[in-house]
Structure formats: structure tokens, C-alpha cells
């Protein structure tokens, strides 16, 4: 059953200060109705604070929050069409599992609250545990009860605060798929908070990467991965090899001088900032896009080439082999190579060069210290 109530969520210039500390800085977000939105960021970046402001448990210092086009900034938590799956579950210890799930329905005076709660427990496969107390359940089961307790109310927006944090890898994977299925079935707008980039990328339609109270970049997972716009995103979402240089050639493809080597990057893959001659830019490439060019062989023409450098580590991980290559002043770079046939034999200590397609290069404005400041 699709929820008839699903709604979009919008945040306009939302700020939150705790005393002199700013936990969330001027956040603008639009989460389309029925989408699966992930808020990804390191610990302490303001994810929970953002969710709490949407839920009405924290009042923003300034800014406007609207749900389905209705301004709810000053609305009390219990009057918002929003439910939360709390980071700590927050199940009521004095109520049975079934009564926990029925709690919201009873408050809304929904008829047949208990029958609906039982149906809700079925969707998380816990119908047989309805009479237990929360403390008689495992962590994973409690987490599913918390999910059912929020979902049965068919909220306009469901907020999930690291709901899978306490689960082991196998159960976590299973619950990720389960959540995705529930979201697709119910059509409810999900805002899912996590600090696990893989989780965010596999589950969400749209990912917002947060850092120090700001959204650094927002977009579909593939776009964020292919074209990160800040050094933070480039390194938080997967890994990246970054070098700094200055623009020497302008046009469709920029020419960038990096410590005497000429690298190229399509101008459309350079985010913001100035791209005129002399501008300082960072160039990056994903490790799996880089090829190792052994001594004696030649890189294909039209590639960016760096090196030579020295292989300092070779780790076999099963599906791929990861190499660390020390390029001296340009730092240590990573290369992930699929273990398919024809891979060159490379050993620690070998002198190699690194090559990758110009079209796989991305450019970030500014100094390596920190972009976007």
C-alpha cells in the first residue's frame, strides 16, 4: 500500500547554535516527495541535530522547515506528520512490543490500532514477539520494532537516525534491502542518516554529504562518486588520488601543470572556482580508474601520466589488488586493479608510472588545505 500522505521536505537557511557552537550552518535542502534521501557525514557533523529539527525535538536558531509545502518551523513535535527511528531506538520499556507499535496509532485515535500494529509487526517479521517486552529482544529485533513503530503511522516523512548502526554486517545488509523495499512499497519520503558511505550509496536516490554542519555536495550517488566537488567529498565517498597544480591552458580541456608534468581535465569536470590561466586547482582520479604502466611499456596516448614512482605496497584483496605508489613530492597514490587476466606483474620496489583517461579526471577548485572555505 502506498502512503497517501507522503510529502516533500524543505529546509531553508536552517541554522542551529548551541551556545557559541554552531552545530548546523545555514542548511538549504529539498527532499522530493517519495524519495529516499541519505544524509551522510562523519561523527559530530550535525546529522542528528538536523533530523531533530525536522522532527520538532530541537528548535532551529533561524531558518524555515516545511513539510509538503506547509511551514512547520514553530509546530510542536506531536503535531508534525513525521516519525523518527531513533539512533538509540527509544522503545518504551513498560509496554509490550505490540503496545509500543500501537502507541502512535492510539494517540491519533486510529480505529483498530492493535490490529494495525500487528500488521506493522508482520512487515518486519516480528508478529510472533508482540507480547514480549523490548528488553527481551535482541538488538536487531529492537531496531525492527522501532522501525515498525514509526512506519505504522504512515508519516509524510520518516526520519531514520543510523538505524542499522547496531547490527552485524549480514543483518545490516539484509535490513538495507528490507528498508529499500519498504520505502519503495510505501512510497514514504525517507531521510536516512548514516556515516557509512556504502550504505548511503546503495540505498538512497539522493545523497547529501555533510561536514562540520554544512552540506558539501548533494546529488545522486553515482554523480557524487564520479564528480565530487570538494576534496572532503572526494575522500569521504570512496578514495581519491589528489594533486595540486596551476592552469596553463584554457579551452574545452584545461591543461594543468603539476610539478612540471602536464595533466589535462575536461573543463566540464572542474567544479566552480576560477579556471583561468594561473588558477590553482586540484586534480583527482579514483584509484580504480588508474592503470599501472610498468617500466618499458608506453601508456596509451591521450592519458594523463604521472611518475615514475616506487611501488611501496601490494595487497591482494580477492576481487582486486591494491597498490601504493610513492610519487615523491606528489604523495602516495593508490591503484585498485581488477584481478582479471593480463594484469602486469608488479612487485614492491618496482619503478612504475600511473596513467588514466583524461575523461576520468576531475578538478576541484582551490588549495588542498580545504576547499570551499
Amino acid at each position: 500500500m502506498r502512503s497517501p500522505h507522503t510529502a516533500s521536505l524543505e529546509l531553508w537557511g536552517v541554522r542551529k547554535e548551541f551556545g557559541s557552537f554552531t552545530a548546523v550552518e545555514s542548511l538549504d535542502l529539498t527532499v522530493p516527495e517519495g524519495s529516499f534521501f541519505a544524509l551522510l557525514g562523519p561523527s559530530g557533523c550535525g546529522k542528528t541535530t538536523t533530523l531533530r529539527m525536522v522532527a520538532g525535538l530541537e528548535q532551529p536558531t533561524s531558518g524555515v522547515i516545511s513539510i509538503g509545502g506547509r511551514d512547520v518551523t514553530g509546530t510542536a513535535a506531536h503535531r508534525r506528520p513525521v516519525n523518527t527511528v531513533f539512533q538509540s531506538y527509544a522503545l518504551f520499556p513498560h509496554l509490550t512490543v505490540l503496545d509500543n507499535v500501537a502507541f502512535g496509532l492510539k494517540r491519533k485515535r486510529v480505529p483498530d490500532a492493535r490490529a494495525k500494529a500487528r500488521a506493522g509487526l508482520e512487515t518486519v517479521q516480528l508478529a510472533h514477539l508482540g507480547d514480549r517486552r523490548p528488553n527481551q529482544l535482541s538488538g536487531g529485533q529492537q531496531q525492527r520494532v522501532a522501525l515498525a513503530r514509526a512506519l505504522v503511522n504512515s508519516p509524510s516523512v520518516l526520519l531514520l537516525d543510523e538505524p542499522l548502526g547496531a547490527l552485524d554486517l549480514a543483518l545490516r545488509r539484509e535490513m538495507q534491502l528490507e528498508l529499500k523495499r519498504i520505502q519503495a512499497d510505501a512510497g514514504i519520503t525517507f531521510v536516512h542518516v548514516t556515516h557509512d558511505q556504502e550504505e548511503a550509496m546503495t540505498m538512497a536516490d539522493t545523497v547529501a554529504v555533510m561536514n562540520e554542519g554544512r552540506v558539501e555536495q548533494l546529488g545522486p550517488p553515482a554523480e557524487l562518486y564520479e564528480l565530487p566537488s570538494t576534496a572532503f567529498v572526494a575522500n569521504f565517498l570512496g578514495r581519491s588520488n589528489l594533486v595540486t597544480g596551476s592552469v596553463v591552458d584554457v579551452g574545452e580541456v584545461l591543461g594543468v601543470d603539476v610539478a612540471g608534468t602536464r595533466l589535462r581535465v575536461p573543463v566540464g569536470r572542474v567544479s566552480a572556482g576560477s579556471t583561468g590561466v594561473g588558477a590553482v586547482v586540484q586534480l583527482g582520479v579514483r584509484p580504480e580508474k588508474v592503470r599501472i604502466v610498468a617500466n618499458g611499456s608506453e601508456p596509451t596516448s591521450g592519458s594523463n601520466v604521472l611518475g615514475p614512482g616506487k611501488v611501496t605496497d601490494v595487497s591482494f584483496t580477492g576481487v582486486s589488488t591494491q597498490y601504493q605508489v610513492d610519487l615523491g613530492d606528489l604523495g602516495v597514490h593508490e591503484v585498485f586493479a581488477q584481478n582479471s587476466s593480463g594484469a602486469p606483474e608488479v612487485r614492491v620496489g618496482d619503478a612504475v608510472r600511473l596513467a588514466w583517461d583524461v575523461d576520468h579526471t576531475f578538478g576541484l577548485a582551490g588549495e588542498p588545505a580545504r576547499s570551499g572555505q
Binding site: 506531536h78 516519525n83 518504551f92
Partner: protein
Amino acid sequence: MTTVAPGPAIGVAAPGTGAPGTGAEDVAARRAGAAGVGLMLPGTLYLVAFFVIPVFALLATSLYVPVPGGDVGQFMPAFHWQNYVTALADFWQPLARSFWFALLATAGALAVGYPIAYLIAVRGRGRPLLQGMLLVLVVAPFFTSFVLRTIAWKQILADDGYVVQALHWLHVLPPDGRLTATSFAVVVSLTHNFVPFMALPIYASLERLDPRLVEAGGDLYAGPWTTFRTVTLPLSMPGVVSGTLLTFIPAAGDYVSASLLGNSTNTAMIGQVIDTRFFRLLDYPTAASLSVVLMAAIAVLVGLYVRRTGTEDLL
């Protein structure tokens, strides 16, 4: 190495005694058992000397009969169950009144104590200095004597005191109405004396309450009052039950408030009667049988109450 004693014997052998062979283990187990008994001995002796023996003495005394032709206060052992019948026939009124007053005082102490506890534990959360100061204020009355606090009410409720005059002025009290020497004065004093016993256990359970559960209530469409009724109050019930027991039990047996603030006709409580029978009239069997009835009645009431509120694990 420590060796867990085999069989039903409880305890763990002392380090160094875990020599191989069942004989040595048995010895170790027996030694551990002996240590356990040794540890329990002082407590057991204390209970026997100061609880079991006195209770038996009380039960025995309650069945004594006067020595024929003897002096006042001279009794001899007997099994005179009739003592209970006469005691109850003569004094059922103060007995019933004691429970009634205790009930009123418990309700009053709950009405005053719960908001105090809530204020300190929930509103004061995150401000330990303020909480500490307020807790001291709750306990501060204990620094003065019980008797003094009770006598203070005599002043407060006196005929020419502000309270009575204000009530006269407001026509709440008829012109000849007074507050001293009334049931009202006794119950007020009982309530006041037991508020800390009510507030502290409730404070302890509210302090333990996870604020995130209250937030979850709000998230699930419960307004502040509904959240209080469905989350906060049920989770503070252990404190409420302890507080009401700590108030009701001593209040039912109290005689200071009734003797100092009551009158001689319609405020007498059972504690006063027992006191008079025992110390003034030297009627030990009646005093003893009333004490036994009081004890038994409290035990039954408390049992029923605890069973009803589902907090057996408190006992």
C-alpha cells in the same frame, strides 16, 4: 586457581586450596560453606534478638490475662484470644481512623511530593548544582525534630494565626470555626512530615527516566500531558509505590501528630491508644493485641497494594 565447589554447596574455595582429588575439593567446599554461615551469623543473630523474639513476646503478651487479685499491671501467661475481641470492639474507631488519616496523608504527600520530585529531576536535568540545592531543601526539615515541626503547625493553625483569620475573612470557615484540634490539623501535620519520604523515591525514579523516551512520546503524536500520563508516570511508578509505602506505613502508626494537634474525641489514632494503654493504664495485653492487629492489617494492605500495582520485585 579457584575451584568451584561441586554439588549444591554454594561458594568458591579460597585461592590455593584447589588441590587435585575429590577429598580436597569436599574439604574446600565445606570450608566455603562454613565461611558463608559465618558471614550470615551476625545478621541472623541481630534479627533473632531484635525482631523474632520481640514479635513472639508481643504475640504472647497479647494473650495474657490479669493475675487474679493482683495489682494493676500484673499479668500471667495464657491463651486468652478474647483479648482481641474486646480490643477491637473498644477501639475499632481509632484503628479505622488511623488508616483513613494515613490514606489522606499519603494522598496529600503524593500531591505535594510528586511535583517537587518532577521539578527537581526533570526540570532541573543538566543543572546538578540546582538539583543538589533543591534536594537539600527537601531534606532540610529533617534537621529539626519531628516534635518541633509538629508543634510549629500549632502556631500556624492557631485561632489568632494568619491562616485562620484569612479563612474567616474569606468566609471559608464559619466565625466560630477553628483548625487546631481538628482532623484537618492532624492530617496536615502527617502530610508535611512525610513529604520527603514521598518525594525522594519518586525523584530517584524520575532521575533515571531516559529523556529520549519522552521525546519518542512527542514524536508519536502524544502531547505533553499525554506523554506524562502514558510514559513518564508509568515509568516513575516504582518510586510512587515506594513513596506511598514509606508514607502510609509509618503514618498509620503515628501518634505524635494526633496527640499534639488533635482533640480527645474525634481525632484519636491507634498509636495514641496503644501508647495510653501501655504507659498510662499498664494494660499490656490490650496494647499488644492492638499492635498485632495494626501490624497484620498493614501487612495485608501493603501486600494487596503491591500485588495490584504489579511491583512485587520491590519487596
